[in-house]
Amino acid sequence: MSTFVTLLVIGLSEGAILALAALGFVLIYKATGVINFAQGEFLLIGAYSFYTAFVVMQLPIVLALLVGVLVAVVVGVVVERFILRPMVGQSHISIIMVTIGLASVLSALVQMFYGTQPRSMPPILPRGSVSILGGTVPVNRLWAIVICAVVLGLLTWFFQKSRHGVAMRAVADDQQAAMTVGISVRRVFAMSWALAAISALIAGVTLADITTVEMNIVNFGLLVFPVVIMGGLDSVPGTIVGGLTIGLVTQFVSGYMDPGLAEIVPYLVLVLVLLVRPYGVFGEKRIERV
């Protein structure tokens, strides 16, 4: 029982961070149709820029977060403007590859400036453990859940309710048509990349606080794919459910079965899901009519 509680909370917190990272991916995909393989690197950039502001430049935490947001927005907008805009209308594979190239460049940049040694950061979230139902649970994990839930809630609201949400979805469907109804495609693109980068920043910093600031964050980012595919690529609730599922399943498998197996369990789950539902659990079938 006690193990169960520990694993449950840790799994939920991982899942929540994962969902947040994945939501950035979904945001980009929904609005621009771009499959961003560099989402993991966005987490990395987020974590390192915050680290630089907070630890290296010794800024107060709020200011450091603002610096992080600024960097995230700039990176997001620059990437959109100079790398993805010229790619409009290219095939899936080309877009996937250009973001893979981007991922290489971003991680190479981080590596060039910071090396690969993990860096430690003074704790942001409260440390220590509490006992819940007999399980020892790190307090920062609980905080991670809360933070991610709040940010996820805000983003979801924005996407579903605000008029920018509809604009984003319209742009995703048909950019030319969106222009004819007066939606500035550029602004929508820039906005979705910036939002994705910001959500990655929050996910990255939370993750870095729980672990360390290190290149490994990228590997965590790879898990975004099983999550979004399970969720159906463009469904916000699907992404949240997908994130929590992957977080929990991984944790339970590594706790009760084989920790090594946990590495590939997200992918096994994914394959199972796809066999039953080729468009993910929450995804709608692509419209294909002749």
């Binding site: 190479a108 099983p226 796809l274």
Partner: protein, 353 residues
């Protein structure tokens, strides 16, 4: 599509269907043949080893291009498939004592079969869904290779005996030269057979699936069969590349078949030109030589900009990414297209159009 050179008329379908028609084409092929044949006598072992690596990569890239470039099925599973080919051939020769050619054929067939198994879900999956499903296959295959102690007898790696073909054992002194010859022949065969495939109905049905699968099925193309065949054929080449890798490098461990390798191969076909056999070859050579080039440049400018030398792997990594981006933005059809342009330019010289 290159502009059709003018003044070329055919009197029979047979002549039109030939691969090389014009004088310049034939001359070009002859020059290329001469260069390729004298290469092993002028390069030292270091460069020959690079050439050999590139030739193996070319075979693998041709295979990947069949699936991705021609059939439109995105695959991130190349690394895993190479591993299947490599370990199969190594185990068949070393443990079952099969002659290398037989075990290589065995590896080709098994990799093709695994391709079909992985291809099965592909029947229902499209685009990114398929890409991620193949990513899953990469992860799972690699996990198996890593954990299945039978493969490496618990050592984590597998030694492969020196290649012996029909009683002829490669010797140490001429190791690279001899391999070069073997690989050259195989790479040419791979390129020719792949080219032929796309001159005929089977290959056309692959391309039809890529361009418009619904119309293809309405034209009588069995989508299931076409996709699975594409997976099998593509993986056949990949299996061959994997097997050759095993015999050439003489040691195998899972670390040679990671996701990075899958990405490397995708980069080859992107840089070379998707949906083009020649492109796959150009891409393989280019991507194999890229890190070497970066290093040479780093040696030269490293004094002035020390970060380039000190952070070489990061720089290599970054340059690799940048190459992909630059190609996709400025010449999405890759080196093959650039080469065609050059040919056209000379073909029409002195006229500009």
């Amino acid at each position: 599509m290159a502009a059709v050179e003018t003044g070329r008329h055919h009197t029979s379908y047979r002549s039109e269907l030939r691969l090389w028609h014009t004088r310049p084409q034939i001359v070009r092929m002859a020059v290329l043949a001469v260069i390729v044949i004298i290469l092993p006598f002028i390069l030292d072992d270091y460069w020959l080893a690079l050439a050999n690596t590139a030739l193996i990569a070319a075979i693998g890239a041709i295979g990947l291009n069949i699936l991705v470039g021609y059939t439109g099925q995105i695959s991130l599973g190349q690394g895993g498939f190479l591993a299947v080919g490599a370990f199969t051939s190594a185990i068949l020769t070393d443990r079952l004592g099969m002659p290398a050619p037989v075990s290589i054929i065995g590896a080709v067939m098994l990799t093709a079969a695994i391709g079909v198994i992985v291809g099965l879900p592909a029947l229902r999956l499209k685009g990114l869904y398929l890409a991620i499903a193949t990513l899953a296959s990469q992860m799972v295959i690699l996990f198996i290779v890593r954990r299945w102690e039978f493969l490496t007898e618990g050592q984590g790696f597998l030694d492969v005996a020196r290649l012996e073909v029909f009683g002829f054992r490669l010797d140490r002194a001429n190791f690279e030269q001899q391999w070069y010859m073997i690989l050259l022949v195989l790479a040419i065969l791979a390129a020719l057979t792949a080219t032929n495939l796309f001159r005929t109905g089977v290959g056309r049905s692959f391309m039809a699936v890529r361009d418009q699968d619904i119309a293809a099925s309405a034209m009588g193309v069995n989508l299931t069969r076409a996709k699975l065949t594409a997976f099998a054929v593509s993986n056949g080449y990949v299996g061959l590349a994997g097997a050759l890798m095993a015999h050439y490098t003489e040691i195998l461990s899972w670390e040679k078949f990671t996701l990075d390798v899958s990405i490397l191969y995708l980069a080859m076909i992107i840089v070379g030109g998707m949906g083009s056999v020649a492109g796959a070859v150009y891409g393989a050579v280019f991507i194999t030589l890229l890190p070497v080039l970066v290093r040479e440049v780093a040696d030269v400018v490293g004094g002035a900009v020390p970060i380039i030398r000190d952070q070489l792997p990061a720089v290599e990594h970054g340059v690799f990414g940048l190459t992909i981006i630059v190609f996709l933005i400025f010449e999405p059809r890759g080196l093959n297209r650039i080469w065609e342009r050059i040919k056209d330019w000379f073909g029409y010289w002195p006229f500009r159009y």
